[in-house]
Amino acid sequence: MKRSTTVSRRRFLKGSGLAGLGLMLRHSPLSAAEALAEEPEPYRRFEDVYRNKWTWDRVARGTHGTNCAGTCAFNVYIKGGVVWREEQQAEYEPSGDDVPDYGPRGCQKGLRHSNWMYGKQRVLYPMKRAGERGEGKWQRITWEQATDEIADRIIDYSLEYGPDSISFGSGTMMSVKLASFSSLARFANIAGFTVPEFYSGVGDLPTGVYMTIGTAYTGDTMAAIYKSRCVLVWMANPAVTRLPDAHFFWEARYNGTQVISISPEFTPTAMHSSLWVNPKPGTDTALAMGMIHTILEDGTYERDYLCEQTDLPFLVRADTGEFLRETDLSFVATLAVRDNVFYIWDEATGQPRRAPATGLSDKPIGRDRRRFETLELGDLRPALEGTWQVETRGGTVEVTTVFELLKRKAAEHSPERAAEITGVHPKVIRKVARTFAAARPAMIYTGYSACKWIHGDLLQRAMLLLVALTGSTGKEGGGLQIANAPKTRGMMAFAFADVGPAFRMVSSTTWDYEHGRMKELTEKVYGKELAEDWDARYQESIREDYFPSYGDKGWKMGIFAGNNGANWRASGNRWREVGFGKLETIVAMVPDMGCTAHYADYVLPIAHHYERTDMMLQSRVPYVQVLDAAVLPLGESVDDWTAMNRLAEAISRRARERGIGAIRDDVDGRTVRRDFRSYHDLYTMDGSIESARDVVQYLINVTPGVPKMSFEELAAKGIVRVDDSDGTTWDGEHSPYHNEVARSVVGKRPYETLTGRQQYYIDHEWFLEYGEALPTHLEPLAIEGFPIRFVMGHARHGIHSMWRDDPLMLALQRGEPDIYLNPDDAAARGIADGDPVRVFNPAGAFVAMAHVSAGIQPSMVFMYHGWDPMMFEGRENFSAVISTAGLIKPTSMAGDYGHLGHRVLQFAPNQTYRDFTCELEKWDGNGLA
């Protein structure tokens, strides 16, 4: 049959409404054209080959549930029972008026997932180690054998060493899929496992933000960038790490926003910015202080905002450097141990007056104050500047304000002084400061890199201070944008239902410090003095009970669920030796092989993104997103809910078969009864939860801010807008995201800090001793004799270790791990582009391909993270030279001070990754030594 398949454009327009059935329906390529054809063009049979290629049997909604924070809605096209390709659903609305919408989102990894999910790295059936650990020799076993053997080990270790001898780490492959994570957490909770807290464990926890505003979560939708008039993109590279959202920056630039990129290397973000500022690596706080200096000198700060929202008007004793407290003035206060009543100097009355909203119970921190107290100043007129004499119980004392102290501190950091440290010209520093101060609103967009410097907390405090000076924190288009996250209430409700909180979430960094004997490493690399000093504080923190100790806990078994811990840990090679060496049993539950699974004793096959039912909720886009299983899981793989269900069933059955009864387990002083025989009933809520889909429905029902609907409705729509998400900021009471800052700035509720304010002055004795009571610049740590600073960042062609070994992604790079360096540094070492180079320092060595670029600052190298150790000579990746795992900064373990002290997912020391240096040479091809 001969027929035309083509029409003129005019007729195309005329036929509006008839042509095309859209991307969701079963595709019928010829019908539309047929209906419209009037004047046949010459028929070309071969054109139909292409038309027929663009057809499919079925479409499912889905996404890639990784921790990229993208949450991109995809249509997954199924042809012949397999996933053929995927394309963005792209039905997003804008966040509020007058901003670009979110369409279409997506990235190259997501668009290749249909290929990757069928890749040769897939784990297809349960495997048991048949050779030495890491030898890659396996025996295929059944799920029943796998779960029975693992169940017996869980029972045995729990009986002999306690359930907390088993660590259960869920990684970025699972942690952001709500049903997966909730299922894993529920299982871990029932069994009482030790759960390493991954946020600080990967060095992402913004502790400086927490110190200042009492929450680690502050950030709005990505569209808020468009509302800013000046945005400093600082310690962040969204053109690489936020592919679906980077457009907001360039659109803002077109809209008149000054987009100023601050990074030592010429990043892809710098490429499209209005201005690029290039400090030496690790000197950013000096730059920030130089800017603060300029703003204070110019007087371009928002006085009223500072008086109400910050501790800058609070009075400080000149003699001790501590805040003036009620206990200084009143004997009665000392009896009540009321040391959190603070004072301002009231210009109206010429008297010190109690600062509003200070002095109430702080357990739980700030709850009472938030509800009943206000930051509003009323008749008070706080002085920012001045010194006064105050009568205390101990006599007359001179007091001044935090603002005065800040001025003195800033005086040490003139732009000229900052220029010496940073290499940035003082005029550039002033220009940036003035551009920033003149902008309303002004924003700092930062990333997790700021958390990966040992003194990154000081940088975050300085950043918050900068935005506060312009009065922009809490305003649409302003403030510090670092990380928001959905509140975990829904997931925790599921995890804890019928059981209560009964697992142990531990600080991952301190766990590793003790179990990995990391102090030895610090001593070797940074010297005895630093190692001893910081270790003494560490021990004091444990002694004073600021932080718990884990060193005396046995550690027998590690379960890694979607977690490639052996890849990313600082000093990973040491961790693999000392940490893995301790473990008698290692279980990896993964869809794809990687270093951790390679060294495991059991590998369980887990379903991939398009093979599972789940939902996503991430912080920068106001949508909840479905994963509606497009196809059955490959091989014998199953989703996480099912895997844990099988394991729970095996534990209960084996306990019955072996006649093992309940044990008593002490969790933080509470006695928990754990009966192995009931694990399965508990896990399934007595059979009421039968699948991951039930978990999703449960989560929809209980998660605040998620519109109530059936799973079917969500699956049909793909994405659904979350509640209370009209504007670009997260300020709604009913949105699923943290809105503490807006509550304080707009609602005038006190911050959850000791002072109830954005707290820039911390008078904890350790902060005073180390000179960190105010934000200040401290030099990054370096290794003597090793001149090259090693800087890393999230990768463009992978999310962590995922997709890093996809053949197409590799073909779009250099086929193997590469390291960027400046042409002069390369030439000085006889290194040419493409040469293998050996990177080394006292901690270790690894080999990567030289990638020479004039965009790299001299005396530094840059490497994207995530490359798996398996891809390197001797299976040593960059972790070999990252000597920082034993660096735990004393102030990051301070406590007994209002909001400071161990608080899960809020305050714990980070794994840091930047404070070291190295050297490199052309590799001779003979080993690493």
Binding site: T6, E87, Q88, E251, G256, F266, H598, L810, G815
Partner: protein, 359 residues
């Protein structure tokens, strides 16, 4: 003739290769197509994909075809396989590594026999699969910046078939297999008529035609015409998360293409001197200012204008001046029609094609 066209805004391109992946999954996932990227993104200045394509000749010079060179397989360097099986499941002590896969045999060339086409085209004999890691790739120069720090420069250049108004491939084809569609000007290679002589490949100055060694035919970007016919923008454009590709018809005076190319004159063809009249246009990039010797901000532009002119021709000066003037307007808080157009708040408005569909 109605001519479909594309404008690519280089101020928004982040080099993420999503367009590359979108195209690959859509059209070039079959045997013989492994090395093909109908759409690619390369860092410029750089050697590009295939390597040194700008030195390969082709194009019109003084009204005549300029002889061109056929790129060699290694110039594409795309088809990799990874030893997952050996390392992860068979106990090999190798490291996990990507290596070039052996070239697929040609249909007209069974083992031990040399195809006449190979001789005709002066093609090298197929090589044994390399034991070495990849030596070149489509994105080898990724972020290899030129110039000198901190005044270095580079940017990303997405490339696809230009669907030229004077397509040289069409002129060069000895079997008349190449044609421009009347209804949209899309240039196609009729796979039934193509005999695989590869004259088109030599003639195309952009090296955007690929030879499929399995089918023995030349293949290239089809501007996703099946999608266009159904009101869906080409995959590279619709799937671009950077929102930088406008699609529409050149003569649609209200559409974004006409406004950007002829109205504001900020969108320019790549290498107009090749004489083929491309229908893919680029908004040239404005990079941040450079620094003088003292480290102060200098008024010397980061990308030398001569370099941009060598890519996009004489229109560069006007385009950059217009963009800068309009950006200054919005910085002062004034309205700018051009900026609104480039911002494209409503993403769907980027695609001015008949009966446009999104879902």
């Amino acid at each position: 003739m109605n001519q479909v066209a594309m404008v690519i805004d280089l101020n928004k391109c982040i080099g993420c290769q999503t367009c590359t992946a979108a195209c690959k999954s859509m059209w070039t996932d079959e045997p013989g197509q492994e090395y093909m990227l109908w759409n690619n993104v390369e860092t410029v200045p750089g050697c590009g994909y295939p390597k040194d394509w700008e030195q390969d000749g082709g194009g019109w010079v003084d009204g005549k075809l300029r002889p061109g060179r056929l790129p060699e397989p290694a110039d594409y360097g795309m088809d990799l396989e990874v030893n997952h099986q050996e390392v992860y499941f068979e106990g090999s002590e190798q490291r996990l590594q990507a290596k070039p896969r052996a070239a697929a045999p040609r249909p007209d060339e069974p083992a031990g026999k040399t195809s006449p086409l190979r001789i005709l085209n002066n093609e090298p004999e197929p090589e044994e699969p390399s034991k070495d890691p990849q030596q070149w790739g489509a994105n080898w120069d990724e972020d290899s910046s030129s110039g000198e720090y901190p005044n270095n420069y580079h940017f990303y250049l997405p490339r696809l078939c230009n669907h030229c108004t004077k397509p040289l491939c069409l002129e060069a084809c000895p079997t008349r297999a190449i044609y421009r569609r009347e209804q949209d000007g899309v240039v196609l290679i009729d796979q039934d008529k193509c005999k695989g002589f590869r004259e088109c490949n030599k003639a195309c100055p952009y090296d955007k035609i690929y030879f499929n060694h399995v089918t023995g035919k030349s293949q290239k970007c089809i501007f996703c015409f099946p999608r266009l016919e159904e009101g869906v923008a080409p995959a590279c454009a619709r799937q671009c998360p950077g929102r930088l590709r406008f699609v529409g018809f050149l003569d649609d005076e209200d559409g974004p293409i006409h406004r950007l190319v002829y109205g504001f004159m900020v969108a320019l063809p790549l290498h107009p001197e090749y004489g083929t009249e491309p229908n893919v246009f680029y908004v040239p990039p404005i990079l941040p200012p450079t620094f003088d010797e003292e480290g102060e901000i200098s008024d010397q532009e980061r990308v030398p204008t001569e370099y941009l002119e060598s890519l996009f021709g004489d229109g560069v000066g006007h385009a950059l001046e217009t963009l800068e003037a309009e950006m200054e307007k919005t910085q002062r808080g004034e309205q700018s029609e051009l900026m609104d157009l480039l911002i494209a708040k409503d993403w769907k408005a980027m695609f001015a094609i008949p009966d446009v569909k999104y879902a």
